[in-house]
Symmetry: C2
Subunit: 403 residues, 2 copies
């Protein structure tokens, strides 16, 4: 039976407490530093309830207090912040060539980092390398306990089960990664595994800067060797019935178009991935003997920025195709924004006008669709921070009431 039955959650006093506790903890995260009174206003909860719950959070070492001495009338407010130094999560990004391990605090700050060659042949080996690396890091940073592990994988993942359905880079199929982790971490620890595009989207949602802060509905388009995407709707990742929502990389852009590694033709990925960009560039350069390796868009971009014509033309084309794809994404889910990640955004000044032109050309009935096209706002690698966010989310998000 493949039918997903929604779990029915009925209400009782304890769940009310859980809901309010996580609401408050989340608001502290988002608005820190913040006072109890402000939290009372934000939540609509009574001041006493807030005080009570804050007291509990303080005892759990999740918060720090700081009395503010200012010249306002009235009693000095006490500012609440997430307390650093007590709660950490481990992150693993399993990616082509390198995989990365890191430790983050609950504010999304990386405090330790390490990388190793991904072992394609022996999936379990990567878990071993991760655990060793993590142990070493924890010792060095004198961190005693980890509050969760997040893993982002380049491939299709069943995040509920924690299994990898298909990872084309590594040629892993139906691999239960969760089981491997549980071998090395038999003690009860939260382990969350998801696809790297979803993880990146989550990283933007939780730790995005600037305009991204205000977004609740967006699509993160991860442009790399392939093209993946994570759809965020009402602050939640859309997984899809078969864990493959947001496979925009394989939407058909051109019927019977260029072949794609997925076996079909005309996919967005076959036109706008880094690989496709490099290929188009090389086709232009053939006579000039100045080709680049397929994985090396990072060589094309500086050439374009320095004014090399064929590099510029190639990237503009990429922008054009991305625009076509993004237009269809907008038609599909009508997000507040589409955020683009990947090396390609280093050429933002070149690709953005092209993307915008295509997207705007298709404005529905001339009605203003206030969708933004933005480059990733993150400084840390989104896929690694995303892995951490998978674990951090578990600390903050519990139940929630919706209409």
């Amino acid at each position: 039976m493949n039918v997903k039955y929604r779990k029915i959650i009925s209400g009782n006093a304890k769940i009310v407490r859980d809901i309010n506790r996580s609401t408050i903890l989340n608001l502290i995260r988002l608005h820190q530093p913040v006072t109890r009174v402000r939290l009372s206003h934000l939540t609509g909860l009574n001041k006493s309830t807030v005080s009570n719950i804050v007291h509990e959070l303080l005892q759990d070492n999740l918060l720090s207090e700081e009395e503010l001495k200012d010249q306002n009338v009235g009693r000095n407010p006490i500012l609440l912040r997430l307390k650093p130094g007590h709660h950490y999560v481990a992150a693993l990004n399993l990616d082509a060539v390198y995989s990365r391990v890191a430790v983050f605090d609950i504010n999304g700050k990386m405090v330790g980092h390490h990388k190793f060659f991904t072992d394609y042949e022996h999936p379990e080996k990567n878990v071993l390398l991760f655990s060793k690396s993590l142990k070493k890091m924890m010792k060095k940073l004198s961190i005693e306990q980890i509050n969760g592990i997040g893993v982002s994988v380049a491939g299709m993942v069943d995040s509920g089960e924690g299994s990898i359905l298909y990872a084309p880079h590594f040629q892993w199929k139906n691999l239960n990664l969760m089981e491997l982790f549980q071998k090395y971490y038999p003690q009860p620890i939260d382990i969350k595994i998801d696809n790297d595009a979803n993880a990146s989207a989550l990283a933007e949602l939780w730790f995005g800067k600037g305009e991204v802060t205000k977004l609740n509905d967006f699509v993160f388009l991860s442009v790399g060797a392939g093209i993946g995407s994570g759809i965020v709707l009402n602050r939640k990742i859309l997984e899809g019935a078969n864990h493959s929502a947001g496979e925009f990389g394989h939407m058909t852009l051109v019927e019977n178009g260029l072949p794609c590694i997925c076996g079909n033709r005309g996919c967005l990925e076959a036109y706008a991935s880094d690989r496709a960009t490099a290929r188009r560039y090389n086709a232009l350069q053939q006579k000039k003997n100045a080709t680049v390796q397929e994985s090396m868009v990072e060589e094309i971009i500086p050439r374009a920025l320095q004014g090399e014509k064929s590099a510029i033309r190639t990237l503009k084309e990429t922008g054009h195709f991305l625009g076509l794809g993004i237009k269809n994404i907008i038609r599909a889910v009508d997000p507040q924004a589409v955020i683009i990640g990947g090396k390609i955004i280093q050429a933002w000044s070149i690709i953005y006008p092209e993307i915008l032109r295509v997207v705007k050309s298709g404005d529905l009935y001339g009605l203003r669709q206030e969708v933004k096209i933005l480059p990733s706002s993150l400084k840390v690698r989104p896929r690694l921070l995303g892995a951490a966010t998978l674990a951090i989310r578990e600390i903050f998000e519990e139940y929630q009431i919706v209409r």
Copy 2:
């Protein structure tokens, strides 16, 4: 400020009651007839809580009881059902040429129906006609009170405000329909307005038969003069940041393809709408002088079913284009199913194989994507029943706890 802030709903005893009450009422609707004990199991709530809430619902005249005499051991169970004859909603579908008014009971059964010519020039006139028609119907059926009004409109709708952003058929732009209704219904009554594709999707979700019963995530593709769609994710309609999620009709299928009424080229609608189908058919028939009117797919379908070659070819092409669109829909939101509505489904035996062929050709990496392509399962007009469902939903759905 265009930023949609999520309302924060904090928990308290009253909301817990609301949650549990609506959970129980919904389960009665879905599982009727059902006993209190069964409800207790389904919800996880204690038997006393269920008894208590059921008592309340009985007092509100929402339920009827019937003692079951069977040969099982133990006390006879009391079966609970939604009580007919006490709660009704009014529905209005504003559509091209005709608009329809109807009265439905809370089980989605139509008890009265009437239609009138839509007044394109004077939007308010339609509200007047609706109210007169409803009044007459209520008198005839001796219904004293209506518990809500649902309106489905062929066009883009801001369902929160109840305003029509753009309705191409009627050439209405930024029309606040809710205000017009409130003129005629100043007393506090729930009025809900939404786009007809969303309403149809909702009708399938609530009152769909057969396989549809088990679906929580699907896309309803409404094929008519244009192509609209409603996206249902986790049993909720996806509205989108600009109230235009699911505009799959205007996704680009062919770059620089056929012109579309939206002003662009190559939209799905320009290839697979009834109008496009008729146009393609007429192009084939030109020499034979046997053309049909643009709105008349219903003439092409019987011809095809009787074996007329060009009719068959035309419909197969429509199926092919629908397949291309559906493939991209699947890539986008990965639904459990895509449900197709409209006259075209009378030719299901012709279009379905074509759709399936295109969709399956694009199966991602050869992984089984268990997506179903289904014709609408409703007997009543989906757009009208959908309008009713907008109102019925308000009676049943209140708050809910999610993770």
